[in-house]
Structures are given as structure tokens and as C-alpha cells.
């Protein structure tokens, strides 16, 4: 049994315009946990995160954070009220801002976010390039920047979407280490990943999503036993 969930969705439905993408997503995560959302392309994992952030045309059902209902909260108030940091799939580095401006951009959403110093200690590469325009960075640097950016805000609940996509193995490895460290520091993390090998050792629990529904839920400890099932879902 787990502690009272920090974030819980139940019956979450979401639409992009006319198209109904999520058909009732139920997930929960307790403070300090790390869960992953797995699934094939187009299953609706990204949309789940976006729906939590209010970044869809319409959403229904329930999203509670620390016990508070968020489904009717205006989209720009979700991050501050929920203390959430969202790292989008496409990284969302701003081309017209340099690295440091990118870092400083998101307003604080919680107490004791990391200072610039701490961030540069965690990602020394960023310090080297801090005056370079955002999109001139290499893919890996952009990815680091996207994560660092939300750590600064004091968000303790992180929604991370495909942070390893298109990255060289060397950087994937480094990111894995960074995530481990964050988890150790008590951050609560929702991870969307294609790269199961990356996600498996990190997660407390996996949710498998297909066609906008959670079709399975696998506890971290059971992964080895459930490998066949997983392979089938993901057809790896």
C-alpha cells in the first residue's frame, strides 16, 4: 500500500479540438516516488502530461494534487498552485533567449528552488554555454537546460516527457544519473519514456497506456517477472 497520493488522476479525458485522445486515465503517485508512463507511439502519454498541465483543448474527470481538485483551474495557474515543473517532449527551449535567460524565465512555483550555482554544479556544461542562444545548443544541452529550468522554480513535482529522445547514449547515461539524484533528494517524478532500458531501473511503478487508457500497471519490483507482458505491449 502506498501513502496518500501527491498527484492522482481519475477518469481523465482529454480532447484536441474534435479528437478525443484520452479516455479515462487513472494514475497516482506518492511523494518521492518516480513512475513512468509507457506505451507505443501515439498512445497518449504526452497527452496525459499535457492534460495535467491544462494544455489540451478540453479535459474532464479529476486531477487532484495534494488533495486539491485541479480540473477547473485556469491553465496558467496550475503550475504555481500545484508546484509543478513540466518538461515538454520537444524541450521548448526559447530560440530568442540565451541559456541564462531561458533558465531564469519560469517564475517560481515553490520554496527553495535550486540556485544558479547549484544548477551549474549539477550541469557543468550549461555554465560553459550560458550566453549562447537557446537553440544553438546541442540536443543534449537543450535537454539539460529544459530540466534545469524547472528545477530552478522550486517545483517538487516534475513531469518529464521523453527526455532521452534523440540523445547520444553518453548523454542518456548522464541524465539517468541526474534523475537518480533528484529522486534521492525527494522530488516526485512522472517520466514518459520510450526507452524502457533507461526507465526500468529508476521507476517505482510503470503504467502502460494504450489508446488513451491505462491498460496495465506494473510495480517496479515486478518488472523482471512481467517482461513478457511488457514486450507484448510495446512490441519491442
Amino acid at each position: 500500500m502506498m501513502a496518500a497520493p501527491l498527484l492522482k488522476t481519475s477518469g481523465l479525458n482529454a480532447w484536441y479540438g474534435e479528437s478525443h485522445v484520452l479516455h479515462g486515465i487513472d494514475i497516482e503517485i506518492a511523494e518521492g516516488e518516480l513512475i513512468t508512463l509507457l506505451g507505443r507511439n501515439g498512445a497518449g502519454r504526452t497527452t496525459t502530461l499535457r492534460a495535467i498541465m491544462g494544455m489540451v483543448s478540453r479535459r474532464t474527470g479529476s486531477v487532484t494534487i495534494r488533495g486539491r481538485e485541479f480540473i477547473d483551474i485556469a491553465d496558467h495557474r496550475i503550475a504555481p498552485l500545484g508546484g509543478i515543473g513540466y518538461c515538454p517532449e520537444e524541450r521548448g527551449i526559447f530560440a530568442s533567449l540565451n541559456v541564462e535567460e531561458n533558465l531564469m524565465l519560469p517564475p517560481s512555483v515553490g520554496k527553495d528552488g535550486m540556485s544558479l550555482d547549484e544548477i551549474y554544479r549539477m550541469f557543468p556544461n550549461l555554465k560553459e554555454v550560458r550566453k549562447r542562444m537557446g537553440t544553438r545548443l546541442s540536443g543534449g544541452e537543450q535537454q539539460m537546460l529544459a530540466i534545469a529550468r524547472i528545477l530552478r522554480t522550486g517545483a517538487k513535482l516534475l513531469l518529464l516527457d521523453e527526455i532521452t529522445e534523440g540523445l547520444a547514449p553518453v548523454i542518456v547515461k548522464a541524465l539517468g544519473e541526474a534523475i537518480m539524484r533528484l529522486k534521492a533528494q525527494g522530488y516526485t517524478i512522472v517520466l514518459v519514456e520510450q526507452n524502457f532500458r533507461f526507465a526500468a531501473p529508476l521507476a517505482d511503478r510503470h503504467y502502460v497506456i494504450e489508446h488513451g487508457r491505462v491498460i496495465d500497471r506494473i510495480e517496479g519490483g515486478d518488472v523482471a517477472a512481467s517482461m513478457d507482458r511488457l514486450n507484448h505491449y510495446l512490441s519491442v
Partner: protein, 335 residues
């Protein structure tokens, strides 16, 4: 792959091409087009029987102008905000050729067209170096230079304009009488319209569409994109010039109004209202606008307010224009 957060409708998607649609739609579109062609030709032939011929001639000139403009915006994806330079500039040249050199009007119109083509070559070469909104601004600035030349050069008559251009004769017919003049203008319009239609449905037009849809890809397939754009630009400019020259003969007048940037705005408006990237849209658009201007003339400068409001509403709600929206409702192709 990362998906765009929201689907973007670009200018390119305002129109669509016949052969990119399923076959039954294609058949229906063919039928609709045939009907439209018949209607258009009938209207052009018989309009002067019911309407004031000068008014219809004015319509035809602007319709040709808008069709020429549409070749760029609708089928090449280039917004020129300086097309008045070709329309007005050619009008002066035509006027000069006919009035001062004493050549027949047909040669005057030809001269205007050739001049506009040359001007189009210069403006086009400069402008196609940039895209989108920058392209629009550059054409606007270059057209301003043309405007100031029209104001300053002695032969244009400055603010007075070039007045009293004789209509002369065509193959012995006196163009001062309304009907010969009318059918002369109608012939020019239909010829211009045909050229545009053919261009759009030519191998060249096919490449233009490819460029509009994905320029880097067209380039990577070995198409000299700039050259295609430039040819389309020159073609459009010269037809705009023919339209302006013809108008100069009809009204026996070439003036700054025709070269002013507001004229560039007006032709955009006509095209937008009728439907960018549709074959018949610009004709419909110019009929709507000119008719409004004509019949609302009594309310004076309120016309401008009405037209501005129409502009706003069509940008907000009917970006496909009248013909585009109709085609969508009837599920036929508008090209």
C-alpha cells in the same frame, strides 16, 4: 517525432488542388467548373446589355488585376503588397504610348504589360530574397519608390495625372463608342484569365504548388526555386500591368490612385474576399468590392468603413473567401 502543439493553417492551405482529392469529388468539381466557365463567359458577353458598360469594363480590369495578383498569393504563396506599382505604372506607360507617341491602344496596352514585366523582374529579383512578411514589406517599399517616381517624373503629370488619353481605334473600330470598347476589354480580360488558368494547370504550376508547400524540399529535388518564383512574379506583374493599361484606356486617365499603396491593399482585399488560391475567387471578389464602391458611393467615405469591416470579417471568419467557402460547403474543388 515531436508533434506540433497545434495544427497550423498556413496560407498554403487556404486552397487545394483538384488532383489531391478523391475521384468523385473530382468529377463533381469538373462539372461545377464547366458551369462556372459558361456563366463567366455569358456574363462577360451580355453584361453591357443590362449594366453601365464603363462600370463593367472597370470590373473586368480589376478582376484581371486580382486574378494576376492571385497567381502570386494563391498559387505561389507570395504576398506582394506592391502590386499597384505594376497596375499604375503600366497605366502611365500605356497612356504615354497612346497619347504622346500616338500609337494605337492595343500597342499601348502591350507596352504597359511589357513595362510591368520589366518592373516585375526588378522588384521580384530584389524581393524574393526574403520570405513571408518581409517579402510583403519589401514589395511595399519598392512600390513606394515607383509611386514617388510617378509623382516626380514629368511625363506622368504629377498630381494631375495623365489626362485625356485617346481611346483611338482598333482594327478600324472606333473605341469611343461603348460597345466596341467593351468587347475589346472583354477580350483582354478573357485572354488574361485563360493565361492564368493555364499557368496554374501547367507543369510549371505544379512545381509552384510544390514550392509553396515545402520550399526546402523542392530545392532539394533540384528545382531552382528562386527562378520559379521570379517567373511567377513577372507573369503576375505583367498581367497586372495589362489590367492597369486597359483601365487607363477605358477611363482615358492614368493617375496616382492606381499606383498608390491603397490600391495594393484593395487588390488583396478583392482576392481575399473572393478566395485566395481559387480560380474564380478574385473575379467574384472584385465584383463584390467594385459594386460596393459603386453603389455605396452616395454614403461617401462610409464606403471605406464598410469595406474595412468586410476585410476584418473575412480575415476572421472566411479566410477561404466566398468561392473557397462555397467550394468547401459543396465539397468541390475550387481550383
Amino acid at each position: 517525432m515531436t508533434k506540433p502543439a497545434s495544427s497550423h493553417q498556413t496560407l498554403d492551405q487556404a486552397g487545394e488542388f483538384a488532383e489531391s482529392v478523391p475521384h468523385e469529388k473530382l468529377a463533381r468539381s469538373r462539372a461545377a467548373q464547366a458551369v462556372l466557365w459558361v456563366l463567366l463567359i455569358a456574363a462577360v458577353l451580355f453584361a453591357p446589355a443590362v449594366l453601365y458598360p464603363v462600370f463593367v469594363m472597370q470590373l473586368l480590369c480589376f478582376a484581371l488585376f486580382a486574378c494576376a495578383f492571385n497567381l502570386l498569393i494563391g498559387f505561389t504563396g507570395l504576398l506582394s503588397f506592391g502590386h499597384a506599382a505594376f497596375f499604375g505604372g503600366a497605366a502611365y506607360i500605356c497612356g504615354h504610348v497612346v497619347k504622346v507617341w500616338g500609337l494605337p491602344p492595343l500597342l499601348g496596352i502591350l507596352g504597359g504589360g511589357v513595362f510591368a514585366a520589366a518592373l516585375g523582374y526588378v522588384v521580384g529579383s530584389l524581393a524574393i530574397r526574403r520570405q513571408g512578411i518581409y517579402f510583403a514589406m519589401i514589395t511595399l517599399a519598392l512600390a513606394q519608390i515607383v509611386y514617388f517616381l510617378a509623382l516626380q517624373l514629368p511625363f506622368t503629370g504629377g498630381e494631375n495625372g495623365l489626362q485625356g488619353i485617346p481611346r483611338g481605334t482598333l482594327f478600324g473600330l472606333d473605341l469611343n463608342s461603348p460597345l466596341p470598347m467593351y468587347y475589346f476589354v472583354a477580350a483582354i480580360f478573357l485572354a488574361g484569365f485563360l493565361i492564368i488558368y493555364r499557368t496554374i494547370h501547367s507543369p510549371f504550376g505544379q512545381v509552384l504548388q510544390a514550392i509553396r508547400e515545402n520550399e526546402p524540399r523542392a530545392r532539394s529535388l533540384g528545382y531552382n526555386v528562386d527562378r520559379f518564383k521570379l517567373i511567377a512574379f513577372v507573369l503576375s506583374a505583367s498581367l497586372a500591368g495589362v489590367a492597369g493599361s486597359t483601365k487607363a484606356i477605358v477611363f482615358q486617365f492614368a493617375s496616382l490612385t492606381d499606383a498608390h499603396w491603397q490600391m495594393s491593399g484593395e487588390v488583396i482585399l478583392m482576392t481575399l474576399i473572393g478566395g485566395m488560391g481559387t480560380i474564380f475567387g478574385p473575379v467574384v471578389g472584385s465584383v463584390v468590392i467594385i459594386t460596393l464602391q459603386h453603389y455605396l458611393a452616395d454614403i461617401g467615405s462610409w464606403v471605406q468603413v464598410v469595406i474595412g469591416a468586410i476585410f476584418i470579417v473575412s480575415v476572421l471568419l472566411f479566410r477561404r473567401g466566398i468561392v473557397g467557402e462555397l467550394a468547401r460547403m459543396l465539397k468541390i474543388s475550387s481550383v
